[in-house]
Amino acid sequence: MQTIQIQGGRVIDPSQNIDMITDVWLGRGRVLAIGGSSETADIVIDATGLIVCPGLIDVHVHLREPGDEPDETIATGAASALAGGVTSVACMPNTRPAIDNKGAAEFVVLQAQRAGKANVYPVGAVSKGREGLELAELGGLVEGGAVAFTDDGAPVSSASLMRRALQYALMFDKVIMQHCQVMELTVGGVMNEGFESARLGLPGMPAAAEDIMVARDIRLAEITGGRVHIQHVSTSRAVELISEGRRRGIRVSGEACPHHFTLTDECLKDFDTNFKMNPPLRTADDVAAVIDGLRDGTLELLATDHAPHAREKKLREIDQAPFGIVGLETLIPITVHGLVEPGHLTWPEVIRKLTIAPAELLGIPKGTLKPGADADVTIIDPNIKWKIDPTKFVSKSRNTPYGGWDVKGRAHTVIVNGEIRYTMPGVEHRNRSNPTA
């Protein structure tokens, strides 16, 4: 296997508190060293002006396979991850059938190995068939490769089942990821409930539907000692509740998605289904609260909730169209736009939320450039300006609210397991020892 020297980049590795201009050496699928090495490099990547960091990890993606392959497959989703600078993803179990048993989890792992793109970690369903009635075989799922549990796409509505899940998962020290939504309060809803929904005549989903379940599940985590992770936090009250829970030592964490810190419910004014997601886009006050939560550490992670849907599914009346947007390939530029450029977070803070923090949440040996670690590296060009063009997405789907945006920042080179698996259009890396390879 080739030895790669990534030369002269700004190396940011929050797991070691590193932020300096130096070299990173990779070989035999591992990180060899930061700084100097006695090895000879087969490939030298000039990273001058670029950021070099552990491969980014996205704990919340939908890869749609099995069941909805017209939207995305494990292979196309894992390739889309690479194009977004993401080397590891955790995929949600709301496929058809659901990932609710050992064999199903193994299928995901096998398909990801066949694809040879980003690393894919299955998240198992909490309940059999994601029906919210009985616990799935969580132990079997873990043996099949599952790194966490969720019924995402829908909440675990039953407080009793959620309590049992939090308790039972303790024996694997795995986290329950919860999509918080009290379904009785959101019947028929397509957007945030408030002035905008009243203006447009669209059925709303109140913020309280999210807040109430966040409060409930934090309390359940408290009485069980279990670990709950609040997915796609979108409301100001949810941020407060998580913050309070963490102060009290309860094992609760939260993630924020780029659309929830860059867009508001006013974007629905033209009934464009690319702005229909769940949780819905909220108000400017909620956006500010999510950003504050990211700043003060309440929200430890960034995640995309990558939710591809084939064109014909989104090209429907707004109540018929499914929720969700393609997220992986816009993660870096929209994070730059929403967090870095306005000065809310520094690059090391952003990278922490996309590397060591998600690795620790899932308990996977990723997210670090410590010598001996897996050679997963993302090289980011933080200054390149480009226009988001959905027709050029690597993902199978095109449903993004960011089409046509002029943005800054993009994945330059993405290395997984010591192999260069993605380079930005126009970038090429030559092998010194074998220039034709």
Binding site: G194, A198, R199, G201, L202, E317
Partner: protein, 328 residues
Amino acid sequence: MSIAPPPTPLPPPTPWKLKHLLGLEELSIQEITAILDTAESFGEVSKRSRKKVPALQGRIVFNLFFENSTRTRTSFSLAAKRLSADTQDFTASVSSLSKGETFIDTAKNIEAMGADVMVVRHPTPGAPHLLARHVSSSIINAGDGAHEHPTQGLLDLLTIRKKKKKIEGLTVGLVGDISHSRVARSNIWGLTKLGAHVILCGPPTLVPKCLEKLGCEVAHRLDDVMHRLDVVNVLRIQFERAAGGQFPSVAEYSHFYGMTQARIDMARSDLLLLAPGPINRGVELTPEVADGPNSAILEQVTNGLAVRMAVLHLLSGKFDQKPSEMGL
């Protein structure tokens, strides 16, 4: 104390710019006024013994109704016929929609049959807007879910203007299920743009407080506001759109919000009563009130025809405009 200058008449919006009529929210005061003025002149046509003018000769007007309607569809058909257009109805129940064809595919088929105008009624807010982005015909919104029903709003404005000789400065009450009413939203936009004071009245479950941001007053007790109203527009309870449970019973609703003679007596004697229909006699209105001297319900129907003729006529200048010429 300063005295406000007298209102200056607004210039007509020449040339007419809009290819579609999707809602009153996006119309200017001048555009609304132009439609009302044109409608008044078409009102004269209806009184002639020969009621046809050749304005839309050779044009095809399609009615695409994905929700039940008799009155609005008939009114649009008749308006198109009086302008000498050919009309064709397309009703969802007999369509291929039940076979799984998408809404846009259906509309594209109708476009391919040469439709110059599609008059669209659909249960989903924004459905006409979606069509406007994907077909080249002119789109007239004939009601999209709880969002807008612009020609109903316009005919209400026309009826008020003809009866009261003005709109600015009037206090207009909209009573009933504001949450689920497209008529309410079109009325709110039209009335507030033209300078009326709008009071929305109904139970808090049907009249969200946040609508005050649209420049309206929100009230929950009709008896407290009746005496202030110049006009009252009594909306139908949207049994098909309300998820249920927003009020305890029809009887209780009727008790607090039904337009009875006793309530009419609380108001000024020249109170103008409107109802977009179809009305549930005995629920929103008692029969004696519906047929009484304050009621302009049947004039609304006549004015609806004139308004729809006016809209078709004004848009017809833009029928052949390509979306690319509109910067879309």
